[in-house]
């Protein structure tokens, strides 16, 4: 067999495999992507909450995208405590100003960043939240201070529609 013939066949094989691989990939992708959030799940992306009845020191929990969101009206002491923490003491350094647009209101996902449990209010060594699952302590700004969680509790996208309403998402 001449060398030229072999090359031509090799080329055809490679070209066929390549087209085949693209075809298989294009077929598999829809099978994988169908598991991602669907249109109806994405449609529930925002929710409006009435906060007029929340007094200082109280937390309300609302469900947003299937996850709890804590809306806490913080007391003066809690705000002072949250602002006075030195950045070096934090595992995931973040200023309180960057977490609470209006210092009186802390809006954050009530989901422990370790493995997703819901932390308990007014508990733990830092007067903030405590996760009962694996013992993570969060401060009054929802920042991780002690325990296995790697990061602070997440702040969702939110805005004050008016003084009594917060829109999350």
């Amino acid at each position: 067999m001449s060398e030229k013939k072999t090359n031509r066949r090799d080329f055809l094989f490679t070209a066929t495999y390549a087209v085949g691989a693209v075809g298989v990939g294009a077929t598999i992708w829809p099978m994988i992507d169908q598991m991602n959030p669907d249109a109806s799940v994405k449609a529930l992306a925002s929710t409006e909450v009435d906060i007029s009845s929340v007094t200082p020191g109280k937390t309300i929990t609302v469900l947003w995208r299937g996850k709890p969101v804590f809306i806490r009206r913080r007391t003066r002491e809690e705000i002072v405590q949250a602002k006075s923490v030195k950045m070096e003491e934090l595992k995931d350094p973040e200023k309180d100003e960057d977490r609470a647009k209006n210092p009186e209101w802390l809006v954050m996902l009530g989901v422990c960043t370790h493995l997703g449990c819901v932390p308990l209010n007014d508990k733990g060594d830092y007067n903030g939240w405590f996760c009962p699952c694996h013992g993570s302590h969060y401060d009054t700004s929802g920042r991780i201070r002690k325990g296995p969680a790697p990061t602070n509790m997440e702040i969702p996208k939110y805005e004050f529609v008016n003084t009594n309403t917060i829109k999350i998402g």
């Binding site: 799940v41 929990t61 299937g66 996850k67 969680a149």
Partner: protein, 420 residues
């Protein structure tokens, strides 16, 4: 193998067998030469097959009444328990069957560890077994989610969140697994589908497991290679069939005790509360058979490293045939390994115990020591032991120690060395 010479007696049988050799297969399975010294620890393969079939049959029946929807799943399980004829029995068999399955598989695995059944030429049997074990854990976890109780929901949340530890793509993978931004209806329906699928994958792997077993044949308590068929073997039927059958009956007594007398003792009361995404139960604890790995996960203070340690604890088993450097299979002839073996058994039991306790104080310290020892056993002790250990002389055949004057291996061995 003996079935090469097999020809069916009837004319039709011969005609059929020439076209599809099912009769040859049946003949191979009945005549299959088995070491004659197999003890009761060898009966758990048959028991496990029984467990798999029980789970498939009861599972099929439950699926006829269960509704995989976040709004209806919990109620449909209660409907099975209260309204469906014998629904309580079928569900209790299925729920306790999972625990019985794991009980049997742990005995099966530790039998293999004691008698060195994972060593050459049986590495592939062992690795297929580890894959089956992984699939069992996946099936058990997803099955536990289906009743949509509090433990179902939060167990699913915690376990799926393990994937979020993967750098960069972790969060995307978790959203993909959930089909949303939290564990919800899409998660439940896909878990139901996969929970239904996995047992059949296991069934296929069991066929490969047994096929791979029938190439070299069974290991045995003495751990030596034997000629097959020979004075050292007996045909599978009726000898092993009867022995397996008797052991299965004993096993079923234990099984029935749980089903009829304490059907909920292995579960968690929290799972009789419907799933609530706003409230996490005070103690999230997995089912007992996953506790040692849960203890390893929690003993590491870093999220990613904890997940890595937990997965390594399972995958390290797949490398066992190469980590154990000793040429001698059975622990009967390995005086040092025998002691380390029992330390490992104790270590895993301790891990299981601290896995059920809160991860703090003394429990955490014990969990860390036990985790460290677990890896030490596989990564240091086993490789070194193979070179350092002075093993006892092994007999040339299974029959030899018996004909040597005593059915007791140790006595026969002493006599042998005395004669020299």
């Amino acid at each position: 193998m003996s079935d090469n010479a097999y020809t069916p007696k009837s004319k039709f049988g011969k005609w059929f067998n020439d076209r599809l050799p099912l009769l040859s297969l049946a003949n191979h399975l009945t005549d299959y030469p088995t070491p004659k010294n197999l003890n009761y620890w060898w009966t758990f393969g048959g028991i496990l097959t029984f467990c798999l079939i029980t789970q498939i049959v009861t599972g099929l029946v439950l699926a006829m009444h269960y509704i995989a929807h976040a709004d209806m799943a919990f109620d449909s399980v209660e409907h099975i328990m209260r309204d469906v004829n014998y629904g309580w029995l079928i569900r209790y068999i299925h729920a306790n069957g999972a625990s019985m399955f794991f009980l049997a598989v742990y005995i099966h695995i530790f039998r293999s560890l004691f008698y060195g059944s994972y060593k050459a030429p049986r590495e592939i049997i062992w690795i297929i077994g580890i894959i089956i074990y992984l699939l069992m854990m996946a099936a058990a976890f997803m099955g536990y989610v289906l009743p949509w109780g509090q433990m179902s929901f939060w167990g699913a949340t915690v376990i799926t969140n393990l994937f979020s530890a993967i750098p960069l793509v972790g969060e995307g993978i978790v959203t993909w697994l959930w089909g949303g931004y939290s564990v919800d209806n899409p998660t439940l329906t896909r878990f139901f589908t996969l929970h239904y699928l996995i047992p059949f994958l296991i069934l296929g792997l069991v066929v490969l497991h047994i096929w791979a077993l029938h190439v070299p044949g069974n290991n045995n308590p003495v751990g030596i290679d034997i000629k097959k068929p020979s004075k050292d073997t007996v045909p599978f039927h009726p000898y092993i069939v009867i022995k397996d059958g008797f052991a299965l009956l004993m096993f079923m007594i234990v099984f029935a005790f749980f089903v009829f007398y304490t059907p909920n003792i292995l579960g968690h009361a929290d799972n009789y509360i419907e799933a609530d995404p706003l409230v996490t139960p005070a103690h999230i604890v997995p089912e007992w058979y996953l506790l040692p790995f849960y203890a390893i996960l929690r003993s590491v203070p870093d999220k990613l490293l904890g997940v890595v340690a937990m997965l390594s604890a399972i995958f390290i088993l797949a490398a066992l045939p190469w980590l154990d450097t000793s040429k001698i299979r059975s622990a009967v002839f390995r005086p040092l390994y025998r002691q380390f073996y029992w330390i490992l058994v104790a270590d895993v039991l301790i891990l299981g115990y601290v896995g059920a306790m809160p991860a703090e104080g003394l429990y955490l310290l014990i969990a860390r020591i036990a985790t460290a020892y677990y890896f030490l056993h596989f990564l240091i002790v086993l490789p070194v032991l193979g070179y350092k250990e002075k093993t006892l002389p092994i007999p040339l055949s299974i029959t030899e120690p018996v004909l040597g004057g005593s059915p007791n291996l140790v006595a026969a061995r002493n006599k042998e060395s005395f004669n020299k």
